[in-house]
């Protein structure tokens, strides 16, 4: 039986080639667990969720918190994205928001995660992202839902680059776009 397949799997080789010079590191981080969490941040359920996650839900727009292997990114005033390692069990989270107190929707396969890192990462993204990606305003601990090229993404700045979460059906387009945008930066 065939293996399961991630949306940008076909780009693995090209990502590797593009990463060879050290100017840029491109890779897909496939099969991460992603959960869309909706809950009133002022509710007891939110506290329970925080308890399960081991970190309070970030309430400042455009921020993300890390808790061990988890990243919790603000998506909206009552909406978060939990990014966890593959296979993360979220029954406790579901329970925390049960009985109409909120929702947890598994969106792990809805988006895939691309790593854009290295010294030229910011320059590459600047070809298609209108946000100010300067580390003084968009460094680790921030997050943003925005547009990259002609598709919507969630951006999570890291110490050395960015995680770019993209809808699976757009992943091939965005991968091709990133490789194209990287052209000059790899010369």
């Amino acid at each position: 039986m065939a293996e399961r397949r991630s949306p940008a799997a076909a780009f693995a080789g090209r990502f590797e080639t593009a990463s060879a010079s050290g100017a840029l590191r491109l890779a897909e981080l496939p099969f991460l667990t992603q959960l869309n969490v909706r809950v009133d941040p002022a509710s007891l359920a939110a506290d329970e969720v925080a308890g399960v996650l081991g970190a309070p839900l970030p309430t400042e727009p455009g921020t993300a918190v890390r808790s061990g292997e988890l990243t919790v990114a603000w998506l909206g005033p009552d909406e978060w994205l939990v990014i966890a390692p593959e296979g993360f069990r979220y029954e406790l989270l579901r329970k925390a928001v049960a009985d109409g107190r909120g929702s947890v929707v598994d969106v792990s396969a809805q988006r895939t995660t691309l790593l854009v890192a290295g010294p030229r990462a910011r320059d590459v993204l600047a070809h298609g992202c209108a946000l100010d990606l300067h580390p003084s305003v968009f460094g680790p601990g921030r997050c943003a839902q925005t547009t990259l090229a002609r598709t919507q993404v969630v951006l999570l700045p890291q110490q050395d680059g960015f995680l770019v979460l993209v809808r699976s059906s757009f992943a091939a387009y965005l991968a091709a776009w990133l490789l194209d945008a990287a052209t000059e930066h790899l010369l």
């Binding site: 727009p61 455009g62 998506l75 909206g76 005033p77 909406e79 209108a130 946000l131 943003a144 839902q145 925005t146 547009t147 919507q152």
Partner: protein
């Protein structure tokens, strides 16, 4: 490209937003009680001032939240943004 201050996410490019037309046009409580004229007004008639205009935007490529803005349609200057359900602020 306007820079629209999303009440949640802060200033973002106009292209991230979806325009929603005039704000504060409530869906009628009981449409069946309306005359055809009244229903037509709800369906099709919206203010179109040259000047300050309370309008709806959705930060569709960002936090997906609808909000209201007071924008001057003669200059495109945005004088205020406010959340759905809040009263239109006085912007002089």
């Amino acid at each position: 490209m306007l820079l629209i201050p999303c009440p949640w996410c802060g200033p973002r490019e106009e292209a991230e937003f979806h325009y929603g037309g005039q704000a504060h046009v409530a869906y009628p409580d009981d449409p069946s009680a309306l005359s055809d004229e009244e229903w037509a007004r709800y369906l099709f008639f919206r203010d179109n001032p040259k000047g300050r205009f309370a309008e709806r935007w959705s930060h569709s490529a960002g936090c997906r939240r609808w909000f209201n803005a007071v924008r001057d349609t003669a200059t495109n200057e945005i004088h205020a943004v406010y959340r759905v359900g809040e009263a239109r602020p006085v912007t002089s």
